[in-house]
């Protein structure tokens, strides 16, 4: 059973939680990222039809494992981490990502580690989403992480 996985299959919160259950763990915190059908913007509410996710699978799975290692450095009592991200077409309400963190007790960092995992995932893991609505589509770009940017020396590329 993989702890860090990019998959085209629908995600189950419970199934990912079971990947981290251990005999010495009494706490499992989970996070699900779900496709939002409506987004409040300054111009009003925008509707989404569906999302299309694409990943650089080999690199993404390696970076998910690295995020888990970072978590175990920051919260040493955390025993197990699983992060699973879906790719392909996702409908409103479906989970795009599920994170589960297990620790002996609830105070051992599992809640904080869940949040850390999703923030790091969105910053460094090579996964992209294409948002589709009634009259168009656009690839959503996350905020730039200056230390990761490559460019050919064109001013303003950052």
């Amino acid at each position: 059973m993989k702890l860090f996985e990019i998959t085209a299959q629908p995600l189950s919160l419970d199934e990912v939680a079971r990947r981290v259950v251990r005999p010495d763990c009494g706490a499992v915190a989970t996070f699900a990222g779900v496709v939002r059908g409506t987004t409040a913007t300054q111009e009003g509410v925008r509707g989404t039809d569906f999302l299309n996710y694409e990943a650089y699978t080999e690199m993404a799975e390696a970076l998910l494992a690295r995020i888990a290692a970072e978590i175990q450095g920051r919260w040493p009592k955390v025993v197990a981490v699983s992060i699973v991200h879906r790719v392909g077409r996702l409908e409103i309400g479906e989970s795009s990502v599920v994170i589960a963190v297990a620790a002996p007790h609830r105070g051992d960092g599992c809640f904080e580690a869940c949040q850390y995992a999703i923030e790091r995932l969105k910053a460094i893991v090579p996964i992209w989403k294409e948002e589709n609505w009634a009259d168009g589509q656009v690839w959503v770009e996350g905020p730039r992480q200056p230390e990761l940017v490559s460019h050919l020396g064109v001013p303003g590329a950052l």
Partner: protein, 86 residues
């Protein structure tokens, strides 16, 4: 020597291909490969956009030396996840 170039998301769509083999001189750095990609595929406009580069699945900086068979991936800033405010 030969390297494998992979594109993702907007870059892949814009180029119309996901991977190509590219011949570059031995001793080429990532910056050198990017310049070669720029001249081979000017429609990508990689000199005028923000992107990340990875060599063999690791984020890489321009001075990194490439070796035969390396995989160079170019892609836009990432946007995984789905449920936190953007």
């Amino acid at each position: 020597m030969q390297i494998r170039v992979r594109l993702f998301a907007t870059l892949r769509q814009q180029a119309g291909w996901a991977q190509q083999l590219l011949d570059v001189p031995a001793g080429t750095t990532l910056d050198g490969a990017l310049a070669a990609i720029d001249s081979a595929y000017p429609s990508l406009a990689i000199g005028r956009r923000t992107f990340y580069a990875a060599v063999n699945q690791e984020y890489a900086q321009g001075e990194q030396l490439l070796r035969e068979g390396d995989e160079v991936a170019l892609f836009p800033p990432v946007s995984g996840g789905g449920a936190v405010a953007e």
